[in-house]
Subunit: 347 residues, 2 copies
C-alpha cells in the first residue's frame, strides 16, 4: 500500500509538502496541487486515520445513522448533532437508511469498517435481533430516539410517556372523552410509551368514563393521511371528538385530509401533535403539540457518545430521558358533542 | 498494515469466515463475531475499498456535501439523492457544513482522502477561490443548486431566472406595481437570477411603471424575520403591496413577523414563496409559491455524477437547468391600494 513518501516521490515534491497540503495548512500552485492529487489517485493512497484527523485540526470523525433525513424531526436532530460536532471540532459522517433494515445493516458495516470513532444510531422501526447484534459489536455507540431492543448501548429518548400523558390530560381537561390515538405500533418503544401515557392522562381526569380508539403504523405523512381518511369515513355523530397525531408527519397527513374534507379544526375535531419541529405555529389553525427537545437530544447524544466505552457498560447510565412540554395553540377546543359510550367502542 | 489473514489468525477462524462475516453473508454466534470484531479493532484492520464495496453488494459509495440538513429544501434534496442511491444500490455518505466555508474545506479533504467514488457538492453562499480550487481537484464532482464560480465541474440548478419571472409576472398581473424582493445577494447565482427574472416578469406586464425594493441576505428564517420587521416598520401608505420571499425559510420568518404584527395576508400584503418544499399548503393562508423540482434535482445530480469524469470535461454538459412551476394558493390578491410612484423609491 502506498505511503506518503510514495506520493511525494511520484509528485516530485517533498513529503512535508504533501503532508501540509493534505492537512490544509499549505496553499499550492494549481499545477503542484494537481500533481499531488494525480499521484494520490494513481497510487490509491489513503492517509492513515491520524493524518485524517490532522486534516480537520484536532478532530475525529463521528458517524450518525438516521432513518429519513427529509422528515422534519430527523432533519432537526441531524442539524443539532452537526452544530454540536462543529462546536467540538469534530467531523460528522451521516448515513440515511430510508428506514430500511437492509440499508441499516449495510451502513453499520460501513461504519464499523471505516474510521469513525463512534456511532449515534437512530431508527424508526421496531428493530430486529440482527440489528441489535450488529450494534452490540460496535466499540462505541449510543441509541437515540427509538429503542432497539436487545442493545446494550446507552440510550437517550425523549420522555415519551410524559408526552402522551400531557396530551391526554389536556384533551380530557377540555372535556374530551372519546379520542383517537394515531401512532407507532406497540413494538416501537416510542409508540407503546406515548399510548400508555396518553391513556393514563385521560383516565386521571375522566376516570373510567372514556374511550380511546387507536390506529397504529409508521410515523409518516401517508400513514397520517390514511388515519385521516378512516376518521372522515366514520359517522360524525359517533366518531372521536379529538385526535392525537404522534408525529409531525402524521399530523401533516391528517391536516391535509381534514382540510380536503372541509372538517374545521377545532370546531368539529380537536387535534394535538407531537414533535413540534415543523412550522406548526404557522398552520391553519396553529397546532397544539407536545414539543420534543430535539436540539437537546442531539447535543446529549454526542456528549454521551464521547463519554461512552461499550467495553465498560457499568460506566454509563443505560437510559437518559429528556423532558417534553405541551405547546398550546389553536387546534384544541371543547368537544362538539357530549360523550355517550358506544357499545361497539373498542374500549 | 494488518490484512484479512492477520484478523483471521488473531480470531482463530478462517479467512473465508472473516470475509463472509464482513460482507454480511454469514451470521455467526455472538462469541465468534466478538472475537473477529476484537481482532479488527486490535489490529486496526481496514478492508480495502473493494471489500467495502462487497459489503454493500454491488455498490460504491458516493459523498454528498450540503450546507444545512435541517433546512426543508436541503433535507428534501438529501432525501431524493438517498432514495436514488438506494435504488441504484449505492451507499451515500453525507456531510453537513452549516454553510461554514471552513467546514466545507475540511469535508472536501475528508472526501478526497476517503473512499468515495464521487461528490455531489451543494453550498449556500457565494463561494471562494479556495473552495473552487479544491472542488476542481476532485476526480468526480457535480455542483448542485448554487454555483461555485470558478469550478469546472458539471452543474445542475433549477431554472432560477424563470422562477423569478413566474413570480414577478403573477404579481404584476394581479396589479402589483410596488413589490419587495427578499433573497440572496447578487454574488449568489440563485439570487442574481431570481432577481433578474423577477424584474423582467414585472416589467413585461407593467412596463416601466413599477418599483422593486430589495433586501438581500442569506436564505434563513432569521433573514426572513429581519426583512419582515423592516417591512412592518414602513409607512403602510407607501410600502410595497407584495413580497417575494425567495426560499421556504425566508418565507417562514416573514410569515411569523406578519402574523405577530397582525398584518393579514393577502388582504394587506400579497406574498409569493420559493422552493415549496415545506408544508406551505397547510399555512394560514396557504402559500402561493414557485416550486423547485427538488426530487428531480437529487435524481439528476446522482445520474450526472455517475456519467461524469472531470478529466474529460468535453464529455458532459456544463450546466443543466430544471424547470420550475408556480403553485397558486391563497396568499396573493390584488393590491390594497393603487401604485403612486414614490420619489424616494429605490427604483
Amino acid at each position: 500500500m502506498a505511503n506518503l513518501q510514495d506520493v511525494a516521490t511520484a509528485a516530485g515534491v517533498s513529503k512535508a509538502t504533501v503532508s501540509r497540503y493534505l492537512n490544509g495548512s499549505l496553499e499550492l500552485p494549481e499545477r503542484t496541487a494537481s500533481l499531488i492529487d494525480a499521484a494520490i489517485r494513481t497510487l490509491n493512497y489513503t492517509p492513515n486515520p491520524h493524518a485524517r484527523r490532522l486534516s480537520l485540526g484536532r478532530s475525529d470523525t463521528i458517524a450518525l445513522i438516521v432513518p429519513d433525513i427529509s422528515s422534519p424531526f430527523f432533519a432537526a436532530l441531524v442539524g443539532a448533532v452537526e452544530a454540536e460536532a462543529s462546536d467540538m471540532g469534530l467531523a460528522l459522517a451521516l448515513y440515511a437508511t430510508l428506514n430500511s433494515p437492509e440499508r441499516e445493516l449495510s451502513y453499520l458495516d460501513l461504519v464499523r469498517t471505516g474510521h469513525a470513532d463512534g456511532l449515534i444510531f437512530v431508527t424508526n422501526h421496531a428493530g430486529t435481533d440482527r440489528l441489535a447484534q450488529k450494534i452490540n459489536h460496535l466499540p462505541r455507540c449510543v441509541v437515540v430516539d427509538e429503542d432497539v431492543v436487545g442493545t446494550t448501548a446507552p440510550k437517550i429518548f425523549c420522555d415519551n410517556r410524559r408526552g402522551g400523558w400531557l396530551a391526554g390530560r389536556h384533551l380530557a381537561q377540555q372535556g374530551h372523552r372519546h379520542v383517537l390515538f394515531v401512532g407507532g405500533v406497540d413494538e416501537m418503544v416510542s409508540g407503546a410509551r406515548r399510548f400508555e401515557g396518553f391513556s393514563a392522562g385521560i383516565a386521571e381526569v375522566s376516570g373510567p368514563d372514556h374511550a380511546i380508539d387507536r390506529i397504529s403504523g409508521l410515523y409518516t405523512v401517508s400513514a397520517g393521511r390514511a388515519a385521516g381518511q378512516a376518521f372522515v369515513a366514520q359517522d360524525p355523530a359517533s366518531r372521536p371528538t379529538a385526535i392525537f397525531a404522534t408525529s409531525d408527519e402524521l399530523l401533516i397527513g391528517l391536516y391535509e385530509v381534514l382540510a380536503e374534507a372541509g372538517i374545521p379544526i377545532p370546531q368539529e375535531v380537536s387535534v394535538v401533535g407531537f414533535d413540534d419541529v415543523g412550522p406548526l405555529h404557522l398552520f391553519a389553525p396553529a397546532v397544539t403539540a407536545v414539543r420534543q427537545p430535539v436540539r437537546d437530544l442531539g447535543q446529549h447524544a454526542l456528549k454521551l457518545l464521547l463519554a461512552t466505552d461499550n467495553a465498560d457498560p457499568a460506566n454509563h447510565p443505560s437510559e437518559v430521558l429528556l423532558d417534553v412540554t405541551l405547546i398550546e395553540r389553536n387546534s384544541v377546543a371543547p368537544p362538539v358533542r357530549p360523550f355517550h359510550r358506544n357499545p361497539n367502542s373498542e374500549e
